[in-house]
Structures are given as structure tokens and as C-alpha cells.
């Protein structure tokens, strides 16, 4: 599916100025934040914003070109494309959040346990991560869908699980620095609880990095799920999922190009928004990486 180059953000440093201000002072961050905000707002207010029911057939004449009655036209069943895209935003955010949630939780559990315990658990977990990593996200996601069958839920799980190796690696690498500090070894020697150490000391230290990874990961997850939808292996009709809409629209490439134009644009804008926001977040957390 959609693999995006991922660069693990370097370790973070605290600065006096509040984080949100640092993000917004960056033009990319400001644009990204604005786009994401617009996306979230339109997703939340879709029932009021959308002029029509997204699944209502014959809301207009089939294949009406964009115009006053239907700003983005209608599809071959006469459904309003704008309404479908607005409702699709809800699905898209949901997909992104759930998939990234899965990756984040499983990745943190794996990475932090490996770093904390060391020894054979570390070797086994990180070797397994390496092996999964070389399977590539695409293959893992496809295998999952092949077993579970095509559906939106399964696509979310597949995309989420497929990205776990990357999250685990990043969490592990970030946590290693903390584990190596003398106080940590001391705490272990003094018999501090494992859970306590992981939650109190490791988690807060890796979290800033992981937030950046997750923001960039959102764009990756959204792209991957849309690709599955496009192939017919994700969302099922009549869900107005953008990837599926795009794939259904290709039959009408000649007569109704808007059917493939707008869903594609919606995906691209969303992914773009999370990408630049993620970049800005990384820069804000790590000023050295400015301009990279």
C-alpha cells in the first residue's frame, strides 16, 4: 500500500516556549494544523454541513456535473458527491485513529518491554520485529485481509498491525537512551516495579517522539486504508470511503471525471495536512532538525 519514508525523529529537548506556539510559528505547521482542524470540524459537523444524505440514491440526476445544485456533482446512482466526501471524512479519521491506536499501543508494549527487560526478551522481540519489518507493511496488511476477509474493520486492523514493527523499533531505540542512564539501573537494582519504571520513566520519555511518529503515521495509515478500499479489500458499499469512491468512479472516467477527481483530492489533502503537521511537530520538538 502506501509506504511513506519515515525518518525517526531524534531525541527531544524541552524549551521554554509552549509547543503549540512553536508549531504555529512554522508556516507548514500552521497550514497543517488549519487543514487538520478543518477536516475534524467538517467530519464532526457532516450531518449538518452535508446538503444530502450520503447514501440517498437519486438525490439528483445521476452523473450531474458539479454546479449550483450539487457543488461536486453526483455519482452514477444520483448521490451527492459533496455529502459523501464530508461523511467520508468521518470514516477516514476513524480509520486513521484506530489503525494508529493499534500500532501505537502494540508498538509501545513491544518496544518498551524489549528496552526495559533486555536479555533474551529483548533479543526475541527485536528479532521478531526485524523479521516482520522485512515482510513489509503491504504484505502484512494483505495477508491479514486475506485471512479475515474484506471489510472496513479488518482493513483498519490490518493497517494498524502492519505498522507495529516500525513503531516498536522507534519506541525501543528511543527508550534505550533512558535505560542506559545510571539512575535507571539503580532503580532496577533497588527493586522498583517493572510496570512503574516503564510507565513512570520510559513512557514519558518516548512519548514526544512517538507523537511525531503517530502524526506522520496517521497519513500513512489513511493512505494504506484508502488503497485497500480502492482495491475493494477495505470499506464495503454504501460506505462513502474515499478509496472505494475513487475506485467506483474510474468506470466513468470519460463522462464524469469529477467522480475520481474529488475523492482523490480529499485523500491527498488529508495526508498532506498530517504530513506537514507531523514535520512541524518534529521541528518544534527538535529544533536541530529545522529545515530537514
Amino acid at each position: 500500500m502506501a509506504d511513506i519514508a519515515r525518518t525517526a525523529p531524534p531525541e527531544t529537548r524541552r524549551k521554554a516556549r509552549p509547543l503549540w506556539l512553536r508549531i504555529l510559528r512554522n508556516p507548514g505547521g500552521a497550514i497543517g494544523a488549519a487543514l487538520v482542524l478543518a477536516l475534524v470540524l467538517s467530519a464532526l459537523s457532516a450531518p449538518w454541513l452535508a446538503p444530502f444524505d450520503p447514501t440517498k440514491m437519486a438525490a439528483g440526476r445521476p452523473l450531474t456535473a458539479p454546479g449550483a445544485a450539487h457543488l461536486l456533482g453526483t455519482d452514477e446512482l444520483g448521490r451527492d458527491v459533496l455529502s459523501r466526501i464530508l461523511f467520508g471524512a468521518r470514516l477516514t479519521l476513524q480509520i486513521g485513529a484506530i489503525a494508529v491506536g493499534i500500532s501505537l499501543v502494540l508498538g509501545l508494549v513491544t518496544g518498551l518491554s524489549a528496552a526495559h527487560f533486555g536479555g533474551w526478551p529483548e533479543r526475541i522481540l527485536m528479532r521478531a520485529t526485524d523479521v516482520l519489518f522485512s515482510f513489509t507493511e503491504t504484505l502484512i496488511a494483505l495477508a491479514f485481509v486475506a485471512v479475515l476477509g474484506p471489510s472496513l474493520t479488518n482493513a483498519m486492523v490490518a493497517v494498524g498491525v502492519a505498522a507495529v514493527p516500525f513503531y516498536a523499533r522507534t519506541a525501543y531505540a528511543t527508550a534505550l537512551g533512558e535505560v542506559a542512564k545510571p539512575y535507571y539501573e539503580g532503580a532496577i537494582a533497588a527493586g522498583a516495579g517493572h510496570m512503574r519504571l516503564i510507565l513512570r520513566h520510559l513512557l514519558p520519555n518516548v512519548l514526544p517522539t512517538m507523537i511525531v511518529v503517530a502524526t506522520l503515521g496517521l497519513s500513512n495509515a489513511i493512505l494504506a486504508a484508502a488503497a485497500l478500499g480502492f482495491l475493494g479489500l477495505g470499506a464495503q458499499p454504501p460506505q462513502p470511503e474515499w478509496g472505494y469512491m475513487l475506485s467506483a468512479g474510474r468506470d466513468f472516467m470519460n463522462r464524469a471525471p469529477w467522480l475520481m477527481l474529488y475523492p482523490g483530492l480529499a485523500i491527498a489533502l488529508t495526508v498532506f495536512a498530517f504530513n506537514i503537521l507531523g514535520d512541524a511537530l518534529r521541528e518544534a520538538l527538535d529544533p536541530r532538525s529545522e529545515g530537514r
Binding site: 445521476p62 464495503q236 466513468f252 470519460n254
Partner: protein, 515 residues
């Protein structure tokens, strides 16, 4: 071996590969949306496969334009008084593609192979209750049945019963690289996902196929290519890289108007698309709920929206062109579109309605724009208070799933948009005689009615028996017919190509083609 076998429409959302290389002048290029599964007629059931088998292999019988069986390799046949012995007399001088004569041994080889205990044909049951194939003399073969089976004759006219030359047995790779038959075209090569190259069989003599040409095809080669994108097929047709192909549905009206390409629409395809239900459990164990589905479904509007005028509504459980089909008779029994009545039925059956919808699963198989059609039906059902969750799947999966649903005593209601294609009302026996193709609805009285359709040799009597069965299925809304698909088998033909036509049950004939 009581049940019968049927044919199903081709592959689902299959994506194939295009032909783009330069071709010799005497080639016909026919582009389709998907590829065959195999060249072995005992290993697959898709229409895409059958169409190609019909070019390479011959059959004992053939069909006339109306779909009735006529002599072919067998110039005549006799049936014993008790209906258990069929004796076929073969045409003399028929040659297999490898130069060996085609005789009674090849017929016996084919039948024995279909019934091979280790690896039976996937269509084994369609052959009927055959117990033995016996070579009487080189040109006479006798098939013995354990019980009468009138549908065997139409089966022997279909490419499921392709006669395989016994020399295939000695060949490595039968079904993949080798396919020796006696049909008008010889296999040259098959690249899966891309193309099948066929050469004309110079020794071919037409004994009964629906072609005017008495001998070998006029053209040297026939290339059957896989081109999944409709727009690509159209582009190929326009440039002349392709002579014959299914055009994009949306462009058909414009093509018909401009006359740029000739449009041939297959008739008597025998295909029947219908609702069926998991009848052993709620809510579809209730006849009123099934009737509500039938009454909520506005087939005419849905077809017009998705297929234009290229598919026609069907009232009978067996489609036009099949023995016993009678639109008026069936319309009198099938519950017609009436959303108000549907609402009333749902309210009465379980208090369901638009505010308190009944949730069910709707299984639909991929391809042929059925996903779009299902979305329209989904919206229509929603209006009367049925929330149907569409589940798209490949036809093979759906077959397994429907059976599984029928065998599961609990769970939310399940209905499916099934498609069967067959040349004889015996399909109803396969579907609804116990145990039933999908372990679905059966009853002793229906069994008795179906059994009559298998043994009555007199056409008028058999028609009456078939009508009884259809009335029973329609009255109880067990098998709710929707339409006969035409659009997948619309052919656009380049104007210079002469002699292309399509025999019943969507078998294209290339024997007469020239340009």
C-alpha cells in the same frame, strides 16, 4: 449422484492483461474481461472457461438457435423403453487435433474421467446417474443410467460434456499446456492472465454447431486475450488491435447510434439472477418477510439505473430461452413491487418498519456491476424498513457461504443475490430438491414435484410439471427472480468483421467469421 450441476457466470472482479503485439493479417482478436481457469473441462465452471472449451472441443450434441438439442458428433441416438440406456451413433471420420480418429473410446474415456473416483469432475453430478459407458463398436457408444434422467440430453449439448480425446491421457500438462479435442480450433498456447492462442483445425467438419460454414474456420488464428479495463477494450476496438470485445456499458448507446462498431447482444443466455434466503432461521423462515423483500425490490428502476436497457427483468426462476419459461404465468405467482404492501407485511411479521428496521446480511458476488446494483436494492429495502448489510465476495466463496448460512441455526438473517445459468429447468431440481444445492429449503411435496420434471418425456406434460414447481417457489417467495443479465455479454464487433454470432447460453461462434 442425484443432484444436477449448473453453470455459473464467469470470474468476479478479475483483472487481466491486454494484447498489444502486432498480429498476422488472418488473426481474429477477441478480448474479454477475464481469463479461463483451466483448459480441462472437468475442473472449472466459469462461463469464461466454457466459452473457450467450446472452441477447442466438440460435444456429442449441439443446440439450435432456440436452445434445443440437435445432433452433432452423435448423428443419432436411441433411448431404451425404461429410459436407462442411451445409445449414440457417432459421425465417421472425425479427427482429433493430434491426428488420431475420434471414436467411441474417446467418449468412454471422457465419461470415465468425469466419474473418476479419485478425482471426479467438479461437474460430475451434472452428467446424471450414469453407471457405465460402453463401447459397442468404434462408432457406437452406450451410456447406462441407474434411473431415468431427461436432462442428460441437453447436458450433452453443453461444453461441460466436451469430448476429450483419449490421447490427452498420455500427455503431460493436460489442462495447462495441452488440450486435444476435435473442435474447430486447436490450442497453440495459453499464457495465463494474458492470452490463449488458437489455430484453425483444417480437418474440422461441422456436424451440428450453429454455423453456416460446413468446414474449417475461415481465419487462421483466434487470439482470446484478457483485457479487464472496458475503456482499454474500446480503445483496442477503435484502433483495430481487437476485432471483438465487450464494450464499456456506458458507451453502448453512443456506439449503437454512431454505427462505428456493430453491437451484438447475446440472447437466450439462460442466466438467472435471484434472491434466495437462509430459510431455516428467523426472520426468513417467515414467508411474509420473504414476500416483503420481493415487494420492496423495484427491479425495473434498478436495472434501468445500472444497466440501461441491456438487462431485462425476469419473472421466472428459469430464464428466457429455457424450456418452461413463461413470463405471464410466472408474473401471476411472483410477488410484484409494492412498497406499501411490503411495509404492512414487515409490520405484521415482527413490528419492523423504517423506524425499527430489520437488520439482515445481503451477500453479493463481485463483478458485473452487481455491487452497484446491490446498493440500489439496499436503498430500496431501507425504505420499507430492512437494513441490509452488503457483503461482497467471489462467487466460489459465496457458494460456500450460502451453504454455511443454511446450515447455521442462529444469527442475523441472510439473503443473497445468487446467479445460476443452465439450459434446462433441471436447474430447479439441483437447487431445491433435497438436500438442495446449498442445503436450503426443501419439502417432500416439492421433492415429488421436482422428480416428475426429470422423468416426464412428453413436452406438454413436462411443461406442466415445471410450472407446478415454479408456482410453488414463487408463491412462497423461496426463489425470487430478478433479471437476466445481458450486459456482460454484449459484443462490439468491428464493422469489417462478418459472420460473428452468439449461440444460446453465450457461446460465441467464430467458424463463419471473416474480414
Amino acid at each position: 449422484m442425484t443432484a444436477k450441476r449448473l453453470r455459473q457466470l464467469g470470474l468476479g472482479a478479475v483483472l487481466g492483461c491486454a494484447a498489444a503485439s502486432p498480429l498476422a493479417a488472418k488473426d481474429i482478436v477477441w478480448a474479454r474481461y477475464g481469463d479461463i481457469d483451466t483448459l480441462d473441462p472437468h475442473r472449472a465452471t466459469s462461463t469464461l472457461s466454457l466459452q473457450v472449451w467450446s472452441l477447442i472441443y466438440d460435444t456429442l450434441l449441439a443446440t439450435d438457435a432456440a436452445g434445443a438439442p440437435v445432433p452433432n458428433l452423435a448423428t443419432s441416438w436411441e433411448v431404451s423403453e425404461d429410459g436407462l440406456d442411451y445409445t449414440f451413433h457417432l459421425a465417421d471420420g472425425v479427427m482429433c487435433h493430434d491426428g488420431t480418429p475420434l471414436d467411441a473410446n474417446d467418449v468412454k474415456y471422457t465419461v470415465d474421467r468425469a466419474f473418476d473416483a479419485d478425482n471426479p469432475s467438479v461437474t460430475q453430478a451434472s452428467w446424471g446417474p450414469i453407471t457405465s459407458a460402453e463401447v459397442v463398436d468404434p462408432l457406437t457408444v452406450k451410456l447406462t443410467l441407474s434411473s431415468p434422467f431427461v436432462a442428460m440430453v441437453p447436458f450433452l449439448a453443453d461444453s461441460f460434456s466436451s469430448i476429450l480425446c483419449d490421447s490427452n491421457a498420455e500427455q503431460e500438462g493436460f489442462g495447462t499446456t495441452v488440450a486435444i479435442g476435435s473442435g474447430p480450433w486447436k490450442l497453440d498456447s495459453w499464457t495465463k492472465g494474458d492470452r490463449i492462442v488458437l489455430e484453425k483445425n483444417p480437418d474440422y467438419v461441422n456436424h451440428g454447431k450453429l454455423a453456416e460454414n460446413p468446414g474449417a474456420p475461415y481465419m487462421d488464428r483466434l487470439i482470446v486475450t484478457t483485457v479487464p479495463e472496458p475503456q482499454t477494450r474500446l480503445a483496442g476496438l477503435k484502433t483495430g488491435a481487437i476485432q471483438i470485445a465487450e464494450p464499456p456499458l456506458d458507451d453502448v448507446p453512443a456506439l449503437q447510434e454512431s454505427g462505428e462498431l456493430n453491437i451484438v447482444i447475446a440472447e437466450n443466455t439462460g442466466q438467472n439472477v435471484f434472491w434466495e434466503f437462509a430459510l431455516h432461521r428467523a426472520p426468513f423462515d417467515d414467508e411474509r418477510v420473504r414476500e416483503a423483500v420481493a415487494r420492496a425490490t423495484d427491479v425495473d428502476t434498478a436495472l434501468m439505473l445500472i444497466y440501461g436497457d441491456l438487462s431485462i427483468p425476469e419473472q421466472c426462476p428459469i430464464s428466457r430461452g429455457v424450456f418452461g419459461n413463461d413470463q405471464d404465468f410466472c408474473a401471476g405467482h411472483r410477488a410484484q413491487y409494492d412498497p406499501e404492501k411490503a411495509k404492512a407485511l414487515l409490520a405484521e411479521a415482527g413490528g419492523w418498519g423504517p423506524d425499527n428496521p430489520l437488520e439482515v446480511n445481503m451477500l453479493v458476488w463481485t463483478g458485473g456491476k452487481r455491487d452497484r446494483l446491490a446498493e440500489v436494492f439496499q436503498a430500496q429495502l431501507a425504505e420499507v424498513g430492512i437494513k441490509a448489510n452488503i457483503q461482497m465476495m467471489d462467487i466460489g466463496t459465496m457458494n460456500a457461504r450460502v451453504r454455511q448460512e443454511n446450515e447455521t441455526p442462529e444469527g442475523i438473517g441472510s439473503m443473497d443475490m445468487m446467479t445460476w445459468s443452465w439450459y434446462d429447468p433441471d436447474i430447479l431440481y439441483a437447487l431445491w430438491h433435497s438436500p438442495g444445492a446449498y442445503r436450503g429449503y426443501t419439502s417432500p411435496e416439492l421433492d415429488a414435484m421436482l422428480e416428475k420434471t426429470r422423468v416426464l418425456a412428453d413436452p406438454a406434460e413436462r411443461k406442466g410439471a415445471v410450472e407446478d414447481v415454479m408456482a410453488y417457489l414463487l408463491d412462497k417467495s423461496i426463489h425470487v427472480p430478478l433479471y437476466t443479465p445481458g450486459w456482460e455479454w454484449v459484443f462490439a464487433v468491428r464493422p469489417e468483421v462478418e459472420g460473428f454470432h452468439v449461440a444460446p447460453f453465450v457461446y460465441p461462434i467464430f467458424n463463419d467469421v471473416k474480414f
